[in-house]
C-alpha cells in the first residue's frame, strides 16, 4: 500500500504471485480466480406427477453433448449457453438421511449429511470457505473474504432465523458453523462507499476514528478472554477474529477503475429483508409488498455481487434465492400461493413450477451476462470464474435427490463449457463435482465431504 501525504492509500494492482496456480498444462489455462454459488430452491421440473413416475423433462438440454439445445426452463440461458456446462445424472451424496429439504441445502456445498439428523448442520466446511481460505494465505487483500447474499430469506419454519432450512455455507470443520447471509440490500450497498472520492478527507478521519474503537475492543476482548475457561475463551477469540478482519478491511481502499465503480443505488423501499421474522410455518403470512420487489431487489443484489467481484472486494460469493421452504409468493408471475405450495403442499404443480424455474433461469442469465460484460484485462469476469448453479433437490414433489439440476458456468481453471455431460444414473455424486470445482482452483485433493459419497473428481477441464 502506498500512502500519500494526506493519508489516502492507493491500492496496487494485485499480482498473480501467490503461488496458487497449478503448473501450466499444455492448454495453458489460468487457475480459476473466483467462485460463485447460485442457489435456487425447489429443484426443477422433470416429471408431471407428485411421485416422480411420469417423466416430462423441461430442464435438461436436448441436442448433443457438444451442441446442446436449451429446454423450456433454460431457454433464457440460450444467449450465454456457450459458457455453460450442464451436468446431468449426479445424485446428492446424502439422500434422505436427514430432513428432506434441509439435507439438500446443508449438503450442497459440503458433500455431507446433517451432522445429527433434522435441524442440525454440517460437520464439514462448505467449499466456498475452503476456497476463501486458499486465497487468504498472507495478508488478506479482500475486504470480504467471502460474500454471502440472500434474497427473501428465512421464510416459513425458520421464522427469519438462521437454521438448517436456510444454511448453505459453513465456516469450519467439525462443528456447527453456519454463516448467515447478508439480506439487506441497502447495507450491502455500503460496501461500495469507498469508491466515491474522499476529497475533503472526511472519510479518512472517520475510518481512523472507527479503527480506534476497534483497537480498544481488541484490547478488551483479549483481556477478558484471558480470564475465561477454554470454551468461553474460544467464543471471544472467534468474535475478536471477526473484529480484527473488519479492522483489516478498513485499510483496504479499492481504487475505482473503468470496470470497478459503485453500482447505481436502487430504492428498495417496501422490501423488508427481515420479513421472515413474521413468517408462519405454513407460509400463510404473506408480505406482498416485499414479494413484489423480489425481482428489483434481486437484480440490485446481483449487480452488487458482480461489482464486488469486479472490484476485487471478494473472490468468493454465494447468491441465495430464498431458502428450502421458499414460502413466499410471486406476484409478478401472478402466482399467489407460495413456492412450497406448488412444490408439493398443494400437490406438485408442474406448470407453476416451470414458470418459477424459468424465471430463476432468467435471473441466472442476467447474472452471467453481467459477469461476461466486465473486462478484467483481456478476458471477462466470467472467463476467470466458476459459477455453480444448483438446488437442494431435483424433483420437489417427493424430494428426489438423483439427477440434480446442476449447471456450471465460466471458464475459470479451464472449465470446458458449451457442453451437456450425462453421467449414468446413480453412479456419480455431488461430492465428485465439489472436488472437480476445487481442482479448478488448484486444490488438488481427490475427495471432499463424507468419504462414502466420493467416487473421484468429475473431469471437467
Amino acid at each position: 500500500m502506498l500512502r500519500g501525504a494526506t493519508g489516502v492509500a492507493i491500492a496496487l494492482p494485485w499480482l498473480e504471485i501467490m503461488g496458487h496456480e497449478k503448473t501450466a498444462s499444455a492448454q495453458s489455462v489460468t487457475t480459476a480466480k473466483r467462485y460463485l454459488t447460485v442457489f435456487q430452491p425447489g429443484g426443477t421440473v422433470t416429471f408431471t406427477d407428485q411421485n416422480g413416475t411420469v417423466p416430462s423433462d423441461r430442464f435438461w438440454p436436448t441436442g448433443t453433448s457438444d451442441a446442446p439445445v436449451m429446454n423450456t426452463i433454460n431457454k433464457p440461458l440460450a444467449a450465454i449457453q456457450k459458457k455453460l456446462l450442464f451436468l446431468q445424472g449426479l445424485k446428492m451424496g446424502p439422500a434422505n438421511t436427514g430432513e428432506q429439504h434441509q439435507e439438500g441445502i446443508v449438503g450442497l456445498l459440503t458433500g455431507s449429511k446433517q451432522l445429527n439428523g433434522p435441524d442440525t448442520y454440517s460437520g464439514y466446511a462448505s467449499i466456498d470457505q475452503v476456497l476463501s481460505n486458499r486465497f487468504a494465505t498472507g495478508p488478506t487483500p479482500y475486504t470480504q473474504p467471502t460474500l454471502e447474499m440472500a434474497v427473501r430469506w428465512a421464510t416459513g419454519k425458520s421464522h427469519g432465523r438462521l437454521s438448517a432450512i436456510n444454511s448453505l455455507n459453513f465456516a469450519y470443520e467439525g462443528k456447527h458453523s453456519p454463516i448467515e447471509p447478508r439480506i439487506d440490500p441497502q447495507q450491502i450497498f455500503k460496501m461500495f462507499a469507498n469508491l466515491t472520492p474522499d476529497s475533503s478527507g472526511a472519510r479518512a478521519i472517520e475510518t481512523a476514528r472507527t479503527k480506534s474503537v476497534l483497537d480498544l475492543l481488541d484490547k478488551r476482548y483479549t483481556k477478558l478472554a484471558a480470564r475465561l475457561g477454554a470454551a468461553d475463551k474460544l467464543k471471544l477469540q472467534e468474535h475478536l477474529d471477526k473484529i480484527r478482519k473488519i479492522e483489516l478491511n478498513l485499510d483496504t481502499i479499492v481504487q475505482g477503475t473503468s470496470v470497478c465503480k459503485a453500482p447505481t443505488a436502487v430504492d428498495t423501499k417496501g422490501y423488508n429483508p427481515s420479513t421472515g421474522l413474521q413468517s408462519s410455518n405454513d407460509g400463510s403470512t404473506v408480505d406482498t409488498s416485499t414479494d413484489a420487489l423480489i425481482p428489483k431487489v434481486g437484480q440490485f443484489m446481483m449487480d452488487m455481487m458482480v461489482m464486488a467481484m469486479a472490484c476485487d472486494l471478494t473472490r468468493v460469493g454465494t447468491f441465495q434465492w430464498t431458502d428450502t421452504e421458499a414460502k413466499h409468493t410471486f406476484p409478478w408471475l401472478n402466482l399467489n400461493s407460495h413456492h412450497h405450495f406448488y412444490q408439493h403442499d398443494g400437490g406438485f404443480r408442474p406448470d407453476e413450477c416451470t414458470k418459477i424455474d424459468t424465471w430463476y433461469a432468467e435471473q441466472h442469465a442476467y447474472l452471467l451476462q453481467a459477469m461476461d460484460k466486465v473486462d478484467m484485462g483481456g478476458h471477462t469476469l466470467l472467463d476467470e470464474s466458476v459459477v455453480f448453479f444448483g438446488s437442494e433437490l431435483s424433483h420437489p414433489g417427493n424430494h428426489r435427490k438423483d439427477n440434480m439440476p446442476f449447471i456450471l458456468a465460466g471458464n475459470g481453471g479451464g472449465l470446458k463449457t458449451g457442453r451437456h455431460l450425462k453421467f449414468p444414473a446413480g453412479q456419480r455424486s455431488s461430492n465428485d463435482l465439489l472436488v472437480a470445482i476445487l481442482n479448478l482452483f488448484g486444490d488438488s485433493r481427490t475427495s471432499y465431504g463424507e468419504p462414502g459419497f466420493n467416487h473421484g473428481a468429475l473431469s471437467l477441464a
Binding site: P178, E180, L216, G229, I246, D282, S284, V286
Partner: protein, 499 residues
C-alpha cells in the same frame, strides 16, 4: 457463556436510555436452538454477526449523538465549553459503563474509555467522539456477553458461586429479559444474592414487577404458535381478519398472564380453565353475548371451549393456510407441550408422504386414515394424529363446527401419552391431569433460564429433576416453578473448572 439475544439487546439498550426503536431486528438471526434462541451452545459468531453488531452500535450512537438528542441524553453536553468536555464524558462513562458491563468497574476501565474519547476528539467533533464511547460500549464483550468469573465456595473446590453482580444479571435476564435495575444492583452490592435463600427472596420480589409479566408473555409467544396470528392468511374462510388474529393472540397472552399472576397460578388451571379473556370482536366470534368495547375482560360463559388449547389462536396457529391438518395440530401439542421427540420422516418413508387429496365424502379424520393403517406411518403418527383429531370441531380459524362437509365429526381418541378422551374439552382435561405435560412446561422454563437445550449433560440433570419435583409438590404453580428454578443448584452455582 451466553450472549444477549435480540429480545434482550432491545430491552437492555432501552434500559440504558440509548434506544427504543427495536434496532436489534438488524442483528444477526439467532439459531433456533432451544426454541427461544438463547442457548449458549448455539450462538456462533460469523463475519456477518460481528458486522451487524458494529452497524447497530454505530446506528444507535449516531442517533443518540445527533444535535437535538445529545443534550437530552447528556445534559452537560449542551453548549459545552472545550475545557469542560473531558469531565462531562468522564461523568457519562462512570455512569453508563458499570450498567452496560453489569458490574462495578475495575481500575482503569473508565480511564481507557475516556482516553478513547480524547483520541477521537483530536480530529473528530465532540458528538462523534461521544459516539466512539457508545459504539465501543455496545460492542464490548462485557456488554454483549455474560461472562461469569464467580467466587469460590467454601468446602467445594469443584464449584463457584456467581458474584453478586453476575447473579443479578442471571436473575434479571431470566425473569425480566433485561439488565438489572437499581434495586437489583443494590441487592447485589449488599450481598443479598450471595445465598440461595437470598436469590429466592429476590426472585419473589422480581416476579411482582411488571417486567416479569412482559417476560412471561415473551416466553409463551415463543413456545406457542401465537405470534403470527395477525398475519394468518385465511382467504378461503369467511370471518377472519388481521384484527381478529391480533385479538386471538392477545386473548391467549392476557389469559396466561392472568392465570399465572392473578388467578389460580397453575399450569393445569391454564390447560382446563372454564373462562377466557375476550374483547368485543372475539366475543362475537365466539358467540358470547354482552361484551362491548375493545378492552379484554374475563368471560366464563364458554361454549365448546375449555382451557388454553381450545382458544381460537391455539387451534388456528399450527395450521397451513385454510386447509385443516390434524398432524400439525397434534404434532405441536405432542412435541412442544408434551416434549416428545418425533423425528420427521426420512428415506423411504419420506417418499410415501403426500397430502391426502380433498374428498367431499370424507372427514379430515377419514382422509388421514392411512397414518394409522400403514405400518410405516403408525409408529410416529399414533402419537400425533389422535390428538389432532380431538380438535376437528374447530375449523381453520378456530371456529366451532358441528359437522365437516355435512358429515359428523368424530373427536374421540386414545393418546398413548394422556389417555382416552372424547372431544377437545375432555382432551384438555387429560392434559391438565398429565404429569408429562407438567414436566414438559417445567423443562421449557429450565431451558430458557439456563440457556440450554435439554437434555443437558452432567450436573444440570439433578437440578431439572428437582425443579420438576417441586413443581409437582406446589400443585404445578408456575410462579413457584420460576422460583424453584431460581433456587436450583444449576442456577446458583457454576463449575469451577470450565472445559
Amino acid at each position: 457463556m451466553r450472549r444477549l439475544t435480540r429480545f434482550e439487546y432491545n430491552n437492555t439498550v432501552a434500559e440504558l436510555k440509548l434506544d427504543t426503536s427495536n434496532q436489534a431486528v438488524n442483528l444477526a438471526a439467532e439459531l433456533d436452538g432451544n426454541g427461544f434462541g438463547n442457548d449458549a451452545d448455539n450462538q456462533p459468531v460469523s463475519d456477518t454477526t460481528a458486522a451487524a453488531y458494529k452497524q447497530v452500535a454505530e446506528s444507535i450512537a449516531a442517533a443518540v449523538t445527533a444535535p437535538d438528542t445529545l443534550p437530552k441524553f447528556l445534559p452537560c453536553a449542551a453548549n459545552i465549553a472545550a475545557s469542560a468536555e473531558v469531565a462531562c464524558v468522564r461523568g457519562l462513562v462512570e455512569g453508563l459503563l458499570p450498567q452496560a458491563y453489569r458490574r462495578p468497574l475495575d481500575a482503569g476501565e473508565a480511564d481507557e474509555v475516556v482516553a478513547l474519547f480524547q483520541s477521537s476528539r483530536v480530529a473528530s467533533t465532540f458528538a462523534k467522539s461521544v459516539a466512539s464511547v457508545l459504539e465501543f460500549t455496545l460492542q464490548s464483550p462485557d456488554f454483549l456477553y455474560r461472562p461469569e468469573l464467580g467466587v469460590p465456595v467454601a468446602g467445594r473446590a469443584d464449584l463457584l458461586r456467581p458474584t453478586g453482580a453476575e447473579m443479578a444479571t442471571r436473575l434479571s435476564y431470566f425473569l425480566w429479559g433485561t439488565q438489572p435495575d437499581d434495586s437489583l444492583r443494590a441487592a447485589a452490592a449488599a450481598h443479598a444474592l450471595d445465598t440461595t435463600d437470598g436469590v429466592r427472596n429476590q426472585a419473589t420480589l422480581m416476579l411482582a414487577d411488571p417486567k416479569a409479566r412482559k417476560l412471561v408473555t415473551f416466553f409463551f409467544d415463543n413456545l406457542l404458535p401465537i405470534s403470527n396470528l395477525a398475519q394468518l392468511e385465511r382467504t378461503g374462510v369467511a370471518g377472519f381478519s388481521s384484527k381478529l388474529g391480533a385479538a386471538m393472540r392477545q386473548e391467549t397472552e392476557t389469559f396466561l398472564e392472568h392465570v399465572i399472576f392473578d388467578g389460580e397460578g397453575t399450569w393445569p388451571a391454564a390447560l382446563a380453565a372454564d373462562y377466557t379473556y375476550v374483547n368485543e370482536d372475539l366475543a362475537k366470534f365466539y358467540g358470547i353475548a354482552g361484551v362491548t368495547g375493545s378492552e379484554f375482560r374475563k368471560v366464563s360463559d364458554l361454549n365448546h371451549r375449555r382451557g388454553l388449547l381450545t382458544q381460537a389462536g391455539m387451534v388456528a396457529g399450527p395450521l397451513a393456510s385454510d386447509k385443516g391438518n390434524p398432524v400439525t395440530r397434534g404434532g405441536f401439542i405432542v412435541k412442544k407441550l408434551l416434549c416428545q421427540n418425533i423425528p420427521l420422516p426420512t428415506g423411504d418413508i419420506a417418499a410415501l408422504v403426500k397430502t391426502p387429496p380433498a374428498d367431499p365424502t370424507k372427514t379430515t379424520r377419514e382422509r388421514f386414515a392411512a397414518h394409522s393403517v400403514n405400518g410405516a406411518c403408525r409408529g410416529c403418527h399414533i402419537n400425533m394424529d389422535p390428538v389432532g383429531f380431538a380438535f376437528e370441531n374447530y375449523d381453520t380459524i378456530g371456529q366451532w363446527r358441528d359437522t365437516e362437509q355435512n358429515l359428523p365429526i368424530d373427536a374421540s381418541g386414545d393418546s398413548p401419552l394422556v389417555g382416552k378422551f372424547n372431544g377437545p374439552s375432555e382432551f384438555a382435561q387429560r392434559m391438565a391431569e398429565s404429569p408429562v405435560a407438567q414436566a414438559c412446561l417445567a423443562s421449557h422454563w429450565v431451558n430458557y433460564a439456563y440457556g440450554r437445550k435439554l437434555p443437558s449433560a452432567g450436573s444440570d440433570a439433578c437440578s431439572v429433576l428437582s425443579v420438576q419435583s417441586k413443581f409437582k409438590d406446589s400443585g404445578y404453580n408456575v410462579q413457584k416453578l420460576l422460583l424453584s428454578v431460581a433456587e436450583s443448584d444449576a442456577f446458583n452455582y457454576l463449575p469451577a473448572v470450565r472445559e
